[in-house]
Symmetry: C2
Subunit: 333 residues, 2 copies
């Protein structure tokens, strides 16, 4: 834990080591994050998401360079929930972040957590906290793949940039289904290609059709970029800053902070509650008992899960009833 003062001083090697501890679920990771937590909450997080091939990494690279030019220490987290089939996609993406990668003021880290439900979201939250505590005032959170897990991690972003590109006709339909609601800024990248006008028009139409969020709600706009040569990126930067300004008004930032905390808490409760119940059920043998009844078809799996939960709570009920406090009171009767 001598890592902590060095990380708080903003030293990159300490930050890198801390992230590795978190990623490998090292036994010390839990305490490390807990001790750094009071030093977090300073960073702004910008999420960048969208289908593969639209140029998210190039745009992220351009944004990182611009924030650096304003003197901000920048962190980049590239999230890839490593499908068994897409492992290795990251390397190609990193190659596209050539400009920012050469700048020691930009700390870039890919995050590929596999398996475990909710594991990716938790790891992302922890890495953001570490970067935040290490003084990275601006964090770019980029998704690599396209799954629900990556849409979920956008809950960590103050501002979400949804990136599209011309010639992805079907993708636009798909974007509509999943991520229109989470976008604060929409970008049609590769806007020098044929079909850009149509893509912009389609996105604008979808935004028009979206339910009105009220009079003073943020109105997402659709911007155009050619991230490869930097065209339009300044406008994205301005729009992202305008969204910050909006978020800082009328208590909206506090609302965002509550929602973000709820998202993170709910994820942790999900994995923790199940883990403790399963541990108890295995230790007591209740697990094997219920499982065998399910195998014999005398209990359906859903009823089995209900039974396990009930027995778990009752076991703690009995324990509470037998605890010194209750026993003492009973002795007095």
């Amino acid at each position: 834990m001598d890592l902590i003062p060095r990380l708080l001083a903003g030293e990159s090697p300490a930050l890198a080591r801390a992230i590795t501890l978190v990623e490998n679920q090292h036994p010390d990771a839990r305490e490390l994050v807990a001790r750094l937590y009071p030093h977090t909450g300073q960073a702004r997080v910008i999420g960048i998401t969208g289908p593969p091939g639209v140029g998210k990494s190039t745009l992220t690279d351009q944004l990182a360079v611009r924030f650096r030019q304003e003197g901000m220490p920048v962190g980049v987290v590239a999230v890839d929930p490593t499908s068994p089939f897409t492992g290795g996609a990251i390397l190609g993406d990193r190659l596209r972040m050539t400009r920012a990668a050469g700048d020691p003021g930009v700390f870039i880290r890919s995050l590929a957590t596999r398996g475990q439900l909710g594991g990716l979201s938790r790891a992302t939250g922890d890495v953001i906290k570490l970067m935040d505590a290490a003084g990275r005032r601006l964090i770019l959170l980029e998704t690599v793949g396209t799954g629900q897990a990556e849409i979920d991690v956008m809950n960590y972003a103050h501002t979400t940039v949804v990136v599209a590109a011309p010639g992805l006709g079907d993708e636009i339909q798909a974007i509509k289904a999943g991520i229109m609601e989470i976008g604060d800024v929409f970008v049609v990248n590769k806007a020098d290609r044929e079909g850009a006008d149509r893509t912009v028009a389609e996105l604008e139409m979808m935004l028009d059709m979206a339910p009105d969020r009220g009079g003073d709600a943020w109105k997402p706009r659709v911007l155009r970029t050619v991230a490869r040569d930097g065209t339009g990126v300044d406008e994205v930067l301005r729009e992202v800053k305008a969204h910050w300004g909006h978020l800082e008004q009328a208590g909206r930032l506090q609302v965002w902070r509550r929602r973000q905390a709820e998202f993170e808490l709910a994820g942790m409760v999900r994995s923790l509650a199940a883990a403790r119940l399963l541990e108890w059920a295995h230790q007591t043998g209740v697990w094997a008992e219920v499982r065998d009844r399910v195998v014999e078809r005398s209990l359906d799996p859903c009823a089995g899960a209900e039974l396990l939960l009930r027995e778990y709570r009752e076991a703690f009920g009995r324990r509470a009833a037998k605890s010194p406090g209750t026993a003492g009171r009973r002795g007095e009767v």
Copy 2:
């Protein structure tokens, strides 16, 4: 619930309606599955998985036709965990199942459950139960996409067929990472294409390098098919049947049934335990209290989750201590 006798009689419209209830999470779905559960456990489930574009649907189609020719009522479940970006992929796949789709003895259903953690796995398990209860003795469970969720649903399959194809060099590496362990039969489809020998050799090498599972363990083989014209499909059928024969020996089927029940129970416990805890926390106001401490940074999210779980159990402990049973005993003292 007049659906039940008709479903048990094997009527396709009743089966279709029941699946719709399950997919839409209709209030009656829970009881429907529970009442049909005692009538399940007869079907054999064959899983077919692999990267996109290798011809899984065509192979599934061919297998469905062959099982039909042997007089078996067949069900096909195509699983697509609908990433926000890939919605719509299913239709194309269905078009590839042209032969079996024209046969009323083959019941085909695509399953696209979005969002909710574990929702896809649960829906898949329920649909398999419905088909099973409706007398579909052979169920083909095909994955459309490529995520962890789809690897997970292979826990419902007695036999898992992993499909690859030549010219997917990187994919082979990826297959290695995630699904070598779950494959019982490996198929290199499009085996008339260049590079088929290399793909077969690579898969065989990976299988050779896999840790030995013991003397009488099943040894997966690598087969070749050209599913488009049916070449090699009979051999796949023979291998799948050989795997059944293996599973039926030496109590292995019972081991499989236990493992499958544990997978399903664990998934349900995960969602149920969290749902009940969160419901309680919201109702009592403990949720808002803990959330605000997380927002203020006086409690880190992980400690917050621990606190919520502890308070939840203690609340039930107090309730149990005050319950009639315990109160009665206390009265006797």
